[in-house]
Assembly symmetry: C2
Homo-oligomer: 416 residues x 2
Amino acid sequence: MTSHPPHGHAQHGAENARSVAGHAAAVAELLRPLRSADREETLPLSRALGRGLVHDVAAPLSLPPFANSQMDGYAVRSADIDDGGTDLRIMPPVPAGSSPQALEPGTAAPIMTGAMVPAGADAVVPIEKAVPDHFLAPGHGGTVRLPATAPGTYVRIAGSDIAAGERALAAGTCLGPAQLGLLAALGIPEVAVHKAVTVLLVTTGDEVVEPGGTLTPGRIYDSNGTLLETAMKQAGLSVRRAGIANDNPAELQDLLRAQSQGADLIVTTGGVSKGAYEVVRQAMADQPVEFLHVAMQPGGPQGIGTFDGVPFLGFPGNPVSCLVSFEMFLRPALSALLGAPAPRLPLRARLGQPLTSPGRKHQVRRGSLQPDGTVRLEGGESSHLMHALAGSNVLVHVPAGVTELAAGHEVEVWML
Amino acid sequence: MTSHPPHGHAQHGAENARSVAGHAAAVAELLRPLRSADREETLPLSRALGRGLVHDVAAPLSLPPFANSQMDGYAVRSADIDDGGTDLRIMPPVPAGSSPQALEPGTAAPIMTGAMVPAGADAVVPIEKAVPDHFLAPGHGGTVRLPATAPGTYVRIAGSDIAAGERALAAGTCLGPAQLGLLAALGIPEVAVHKAVTVLLVTTGDEVVEPGGTLTPGRIYDSNGTLLETAMKQAGLSVRRAGIANDNPAELQDLLRAQSQGADLIVTTGGVSKGAYEVVRQAMADQPVEFLHVAMQPGGPQGIGTFDGVPFLGFPGNPVSCLVSFEMFLRPALSALLGAPAPRLPLRARLGQPLTSPGRKHQVRRGSLQPDGTVRLEGGESSHLMHALAGSNVLVHVPAGVTELAAGHEVEVWML
């Protein structure tokens, strides 16, 4: 979007457009330096949530570390018990956390769930199958009658979850609660992860007003800033908002120079179309930045390069185009390079209604996944439909080459 | 899990067990006071990410606020153009952000994407269909030849996304990037949300060792603390870790009293089984707390009530049981009461292999959703399989009453 008097050729359409895959590869290449040894840090587990693992982690111990009981009951040598049941002498109980003595032949040891199965014992008989079917007070001595039990019954074997030395987690894994819980179970208190990426985010346009400001006719409130800032935060990025830049290229350059120190990436919105007076294009005139068209709808116009050496991505000005640009290019590149955020899970879903698509472009529609496994399209193709986006939970992919799809056709969707 | 000498009746099985739905309702009832006016706060949009909306939000303006152009081109009165095309006099250009004069009959105004369509104009002809097919320098005057165009072409009508006064978001909506972007587009800079819930999290057990500590025989590292802390953080809770409590009930009471000030909820792990010496049961002896069995596998033993007036949930001691308890009871209750976290999305998936289930319990298995739409079970039924959990991305539901399912059977899965 621009607020300057237009002239010169306007070049629309996807002639000579770069493919989605081609641009995705270019973004990954631009950001490759973010995967470097000086951008790694070691964090305690609870602070590593949502980060990507730098190295493979091998299990330093087996899980479970020792054979333990799956039930409250009696640890036994299964060979001691006849088919009709056998009376066994009761030994001292085995509490969880203790290291019990070996089980002598002809005896049974009361054992609690999770407690170490004594050496010699090979099965646990649940308390409710014992006679009597309750534990006797300690020191009581006496005997218990137990039924025949197959070896291994209710015993969790050491290493049955993972054996010492096996790979517990692969480099590049995004660390969620289960992965961090596994590291804790393995006794690993801290972990090497890739540092969070810091983004300087700038929305542009003379027509754009900060929410809460006064809207004069012809102007609109800035939604791109909030939309991208929160999408980036949700993806684990550290976001610096530079506010709204007007359409003066020199002022935009000054703003970028003043605020890009320490930023790993600059992202702008708007000002990247093919008109003659687009502010981002102009501000980047002396920088190694390419402006091009990706064969994608929405989100076709894109800028990519570096500004004073800082990686730069220029997203288009409409909010849906911004989010699609983030989801299609920036987010996957970070997932692939740094293991975080976790990649979007691609699912298959049947279209709830027919759609049309420009055949030469990859179309990204917004939709909501229904309980019956179909996807309902929310809003039309147009990139300004913010309310429709807010009612969506998936992106719907219509590959290049497809011009129409019938209701019921299966499509790939990405869960947002 | 307990480390005390056992005696008394051990009661296993699901006799008189509460249903999953019954316990979910009890947890929701326990937490209902968290939805109250004094637990609401007004936050700027970027700080409201992941929070639940207190009130419906009506659109204070239409989106788009005014009819605007979808293309770079010429705004026209469509009736001015004959079937064979018509020469129209070129007016001053309409930049985005400006409030143009009405379009006189017989004229065309250069207009940029997003700019307000002048009064009188009812269509936009894209620049590439004009003769000449580029904008002339301002002040040049002259005429442009344009083809016949249907009314409404390339015009985004005011209110076509949402009309002023319509409900933009419903109370209880979890605010993600798209919802916050919509509020920004509507010019709303801050929003009333439910406060984040503060949880005091205590893991118990003499046998449990902090990760990084020395593991003596019979002991295990605490994974519950890390697993639940990070799952709760991911769900937007504020988590206070009280470390690992030993199996002395008086010390656990002291710890809870010392650390529960300001907490909205206490969650413990372990010590809730039906043995006589379970530490959490003992510490709660004088409190209105119920210990019961839910007809669910894993995660059957549960405690629920209040400790010195603070809502309390006692989860069982195995890590998978803890996570399943959180996902089945606490998380859904918070989603329903406070709009945050967003509810898990239930999907249907076909089993990649057969399974068996105890018919009288609702079984929750862990699995990974495959690209072909099937779900692969990760690990067996057992609640200690932390490595298998770390390889999963869904919970697989096998309702009570089902004892076996064949490969290919469709089940409900929840995306983690």
